[in-house]
Amino acid sequence: MKNSKLYKGSLITIILKLLSEHEKMYGYEITQKVKTITKGALKITEGALYPALHKLEADGLLSVEIVEVNNRLRKYYKLTEQGNKETVSKLNELENYIKTMQTLISPKPSWQ
């Protein structure tokens, strides 16, 4: 992941957001989607993605479905009801964080 220290904390939110926009997704698809949307600026590494997916699954935020595709088995992830709620909460959290950072980085000019 590019500039991993800054993005690391947002990986879970990115995964949840993508899954909220798609019925189900598999690991490789998530990495490619992020790459496409950000035009290559953000690359999720395999070593970061799978532990995050497995953690979300263990926390009950994702459910899995295994389907046979192209001679192999594919593990799809989808949001559970609890996952949907968590997505909203995580997105709000991230938006607030971005706003706070913007205030710090480019504060509005004061007239005093």
Partner: protein
């Protein structure tokens, strides 16, 4: 280009060579590698399958698949203990709280029938330990049978066999008291020990009768190759 069945089999072998012995973990990694290889071969058709595979594997970093396996194992263990905890908490809330209270009370009354409380607690400790031993043996037998029938090892089974040992820890804690005689026999002390004993037995019941079957059932629904033996 879509990879053939032979390519996929060789990828399973490749993951095994890189210390991923569990089928439930291999499956996801094989699909990931296969997707990455297919994309790479499309962009660079002159590469051989093996060259493309090695290039894609490099993206997993210096430790390869090892980190993923370790993290997944941790995630399963977390889920396991979360289920144990939730079930345990349910025994401390109504309506199950009544049952827990009743068990403590019955044990307390029984213990008070004897001058030496060890007449009650020692057989109880032996019972808890024996159940743990039987459960551990049965789980091992079950896992062995499943591996033999399917030819596959499952990470979730490792969790059952390894975390089943958690029961031993409880038994051990319980057994400590068999060694230390009751020096302080105040009623509060006896009641506290009865409560602890009931908690140990409840945890054992939850692990063997609730969490293990529940997790196995859930897992077999998504992984059709996982046989419930």
């Amino acid at each position: 280009m879509t990879l053939t069945k032979q390519h996929i089999d060789s990828l399973y072998k490749f993951t095994r060579q890189h210390y991923v012995e569990h089928y439930d973990v291999q499956t996801e990694l094989v699909d990931h590698l296969a997707n990455a290889i297919e994309t790479l071969l499309q962009d660079e058709p002159n590469l051989s399958f093996e060259e493309a595979r090695d290039l894609c594997f490099k993206k997993f970093g210096v430790f390869g698949f090892m980190d993923i396996v370790e993290q997944k194992s941790r995630a399963i263990n977390k889920r396991y203990w979360l289920l144990v905890w939730n079930a345990f908490i349910s025994f401390l809330k109504p309506p199950k709280l009544v049952l827990t209270g009743l068990l403590v009370w019955v044990l307390y009354l029984t213990a008070n029938h004897f001058e030496n409380k060890m007449f009650v607690f020692t057989p109880l400790a032996i019972l808890v330990f024996s159940i743990a031993l039987i459960s551990f043996y049965k789980t091992h037998k079950q896992v062995k049978q499943r591996t033999k029938l399917t030819g596959k090892k499952w990470l979730i089974d490792t969790t059952f066999t390894q975390l089943g040992r958690g029961v031993y820890l409880f038994s051990f804690l319980f057994n400590i008291h068999s060694i230390i005689p009751f020096v302080n026999t105040s009623q509060w002390y006896v009641l506290m020990f009865c409560t602890l004993a009931v908690f140990v037995m409840l945890t054992q019941y939850i692990i063997i009768m609730i969490v293990k079957p529940k997790l196995q059932q859930q897992f077999s629904q998504t992984h059709t190759d996982y046989l419930l033996v």
